[in-house]
Amino acid sequence: MTPLLSVHGLTKTYGAQIGCADVALELHPGEVLGVVGESGSGKSTLLSCMAGHLTPDAGEVVFDTRAEGPRDVLKMSEPERRMLGRTDWAFVHQNPRDGLRMGVSAGGNVGERLMAVGARHYGEIREAATDWLARVEIAETRVDDRPSTFSGGMQQRLQIARNLVTAPRLVFMDEPTGGLDVSVQARLLDLLRGLVRDLGLSAIVVTHDLAVTRLLAHRLMVMKGGRVVEAGLTDQVLDDPQHPYTQLLVSSVLQV
């Protein structure tokens, strides 16, 4: 079976500083991969390189496109890559303000991706927008309100709706629950888990929160200093950590 995404030898340096070095991974359809590590371990750099926000120095990112099969994303032309970013890919930012248009209503935010790929029927766009708001548990009556009037958790759910409306096959998530309080986090995780299961999404979730990966991810990658130090099934890595850094990470989780 062709992996949806396979990455080989991905390297990005900031001058003498290593962003990420020689990272390889494979992601199969329907699979959720968690990437954990401390701040500065290169997980966000890795995500940005894969999603095309940063240009890596070396390596390849091969995506199984709908039309032409596996292609190296980094060798695509910019219009093609941006088209991919609007259709088959989605990117959920840690801060919803980065992923939303704060001056545009919730419905407009969700509808934008549809309009970007050519939807020109107001009624249908609006219907899709209200439908998606309902799926992320935002009341239909809020469809014309601006995201600036939403709570942090609602903004994050709106961002997810905006990203999933074009039925992407691959979702990049950068700390999707960061900055939310614990009960809101739990609801969001529950929602995400439901969506991933129902839609058969593949996702790469970057987080420093091990609980998030335990709930969402099938497989786990642990990064330190820009390199992958350990990878495996989530439960296996968390319950039986092999690398000293992973052991440290797992043991430093606060128990209440």
Partner: protein, 287 residues
């Protein structure tokens, strides 16, 4: 009387050449915003510095110039720009649309159909139609280059969701020759169908340093939704002075008891109709 202290049409020859080069590029790429080295002009930004520079680069001594401001030939902006070129270029000026070879305009397209021999110069405050959604110039240029115009419809979507119809009444975006989305300057959307004209149309934005153009017979389609088609609406009245049913109207408050008069915003068009014997309801009542 030409003021001999100035070069013909105020600007020096090198500056005019530079603007003409930008104009040629703009004509070659309809709807594309060409950057140019906009000069300081002896008038404030917002008074038509871009339009004046384009007019200066376009004028020849044989031209006849007409200047309109919101359709009128006798408002401050129109009068001062007309005087400016009378003094610095010594060209003939007129208020008659048909007699002019170059027309500088602000916020209107003349009612009378233009011909192949005429040039219409627009004063543009904000040339970038995507500015509402994307404040970064680097990003808007990329969006134009890659034809990423989905965001443009978000603006129209917001209009419908808030007002029930597309409430954008002026500066209504058009797609030029199925390529560039263009801001037609703040003309009422009533004038949008007239953008497909026999005349050459040049747009100058002085503060923003941009020039763009619509060559004659260029297709310019107003953006809309399938279920909310473009509607070039106007006030549902005849002109009070000349009785015209098809012209764009200004609403003029005439007293503090709710009295109002709808009159053609194109003063030349209105005067010409009255001279031909047409009388509107308001004028009739006054006689």
């Amino acid at each position: 009387m030409t003021d001999q202290h100035y070069n013909f049409a105020y600007l020096d020859e090198q500056t005019k050449r530079m603007i003409r080069r930008a104009l040629l590029k703009a004509v070659a790429l309809p709807g594309y915003q060409v950057p140019f080295a906009s000069r300081e002009m002896p008038m404030p930004y917002g008074w038509g510095t871009g339009g004046v520079q384009v007019t200066a680069a376009t004028l020849t001594p044989d031209d006849t110039l007409k200047v309109i401001d919101q359709g009128a030939d006798d408002t401050t902006n129109a009068v001062s720009i007309r005087k400016f070129f009378e003094r610095t270029a010594g060209v003939a000026t007129t208020t008659a649309t048909a007699e002019a070879s170059v027309i500088q305009t602000r916020h209107r397209i003349p009612e009378e159909d233009l011909t192949e021999d005429q040039i219409l110069v627009y004063q543009v405050p904000i040339p970038e139609p995507l500015r509402f959604l994307e404040p970064r110039e680097t990003e808007t240029r990329k969006m134009h280059a890659l034809e990423e115009y989905g965001a443009m419809h978000v603006k129209l979507y917001e209009d419908i969701s808030r007002h029930g119809h597309i409430a954008t009444a002026y500066a209504y975006p058009v797609k030029v020759e199925e390529r560039y989305v263009m801001d037609p300057s703040p003309i009422p959307k009533f004038d949008n169908p007239k953008l497909e004209s026999r005349a050459l149309q040049l747009f100058g934005a002085g503060r923003e340093h941009r020039i763009y153009a619509l060559p004659p017979h260029t297709k310019a389609v107003s953006l809309d939704f399938d279920d909310h088609p473009f509607d070039p609406s106007k006030a549902p009245h005849p002109c009070g002075l000349c009785g015209a049913e098809t012209s764009y109207l200004d609403e003029i408050i005439t007293d503090d008891r709710g009295g109002r008069l709808f009159a053609c915003s194109d003063t030349d068009f209105c005067a010409r109709r009255r001279a031909a014997g047409h009388v509107g309801p308001a004028l009739e009542a006054a006689l």
